[in-house]
Symmetry: C2
Subunit: 252 residues, 2 copies
């Protein structure tokens, strides 16, 4: 008897340090390839696993969404254990559930939430080395918070994406930017959450780089306004490194 076709949605967490990002490519470990290879192992079918979007080399995820079609009679409640017993320790399937045939992991996204972590201290922290961007110089956090408000709403983010961006339009909407600051013995851990309907390539990391340069006093909020007005990459800040970034949640 033919096994029923199912469309399954996974919530996936990963430590991106040892991966060349989400998307499958030759001669590199990627999250997508790891998930597809587990599918092949258990279902004996070549299955394409689609993500809510790519994450770059070194970027982490707590709540990436991945979807695939498979012909199986295995109960969906068993899927996380099945995957987790074969996946490398730095990838975990947190949840699995059924979705309709029409569910599209990229096109149906309502909101994505990213979090960027900065360790602003005089000493590195070995346990945060893979997850936080270490900034030695004191950051003026109040200035950063004030400036971040300029990003809210709909803007042309042409100045805030990498040169290889290939989307038709560079207009995007940011719904929220939230700072969480935790004092530690050696300094501060600053977590910046950026929520929006969609993001251009490197957009979150350039927004964060701009805010960091504002925190240094090297740039001002005025530069954000100029960057929007001119679309020139030079007005925006540097691209903050990948390892501070984590895809927290994708909402549909």
């Amino acid at each position: 008897m033919k096994k029923p076709m199912k469309r399954i949605k996974l919530i996936v967490a990963y430590d991106g340090t040892n991966y060349a990002g989400w998307q499958k490519q030759q001669n590199a470990n990627t999250i997508q390839a790891e998930l597809e290879s587990v599918c092949y192992k258990y279902f004996k079918q070549k299955v394409r696993v689609d993500g809510s979007g790519r994450t770059d080399t070194g970027v982490h995820a707590d709540g990436q969404v991945a979807v695939f079609h498979v012909s199986t009679d295995i109960g969906i409640e068993k899927i996380p254990y099945l995957f987790n017993s074969s996946l490398p320790k730095d990838i975990v399937v947190k949840k699995a559930g059924p979705v309709s045939e029409r569910f599209h992991p990229t096109l149906d996204v309502k909101e994505k939430i990213y979090e960027y972590t900065i360790l602003n201290a005089k000493l590195r922290d070995v346990r945060l080395a893979r997850y936080a961007y270490f900034v030695y110089r004191d950051l003026q956090i109040e200035e950063m918070i004030e400036a971040s408000k300029h990003f809210l709403g709909e803007h042309d983010f042409k100045a805030f994406c990498s040169a290889d961006n290939q989307t038709k339009t560079t207009i995007r909407t940011i719904s929220n930017i939230e700072f969480k600051i935790k004092k530690t013995r050696e300094g501060k851990v600053i977590r910046i959450r950026v929520s929006g309907t969609g993001f251009l390539h490197n957009m979150v990391r350039i927004i964060i780089g701009t805010l960091i340069e504002i925190g240094y006093g090297k740039k001002t909020a005025e530069n954000i306004v100029e960057a929007f007005a001119t679309g020139r990459r030079g007005y925006a800040g540097f691209t903050a490194p990948a390892h501070g970034l984590c895809l927290k949640k994708v909402q549909y």
Copy 2:
């Protein structure tokens, strides 16, 4: 003019994942070798850096103590920054201070505090993968806490060390064992702190392995008593894996 000889004590933290332990050896990365190579770079002298004791492959430290002699006029307050600008990101010198000529990092130890981390949950946590031993089966924590009291005080820990132990005596004293339990969405993080004047090879890991087997219901507190009485390794539990262990503090 000849530069003054100084004896310098460092507090060192490291993520042991990528190292073959503390002690220098051929064809392997070790913490001692990394520190000595930084000394050579800055002081142009072959310096031996002595630790409070070895840590095994994969074991972490928050407060390892390391000592060396060097002829230099560099101010001691600059030492952490000097080291940290050259060390790999998974090793950090947290503090540096002068010690007397007679200070001995091994023989003068009054107490060492180790912490072992267990993630007792149905799902792995990618961010804890390097720092916590993942236990899927439910642990009876109350039983573990009760049983742990048997380890307190002076005992012959012959049954609780690896076969390669070469110390003259296997009598050691444990002054404290403390459990900290943190509930998370997916389960519990259990941190067990073990304090004592000194430890045999693998002693903390075998104590923890024994407690975990008691948590499973596979062993009982009675087995600890038998292990002490007979000195037989078989009465004790397995050697809990290295990556859950961290040398928290060394007191002099």
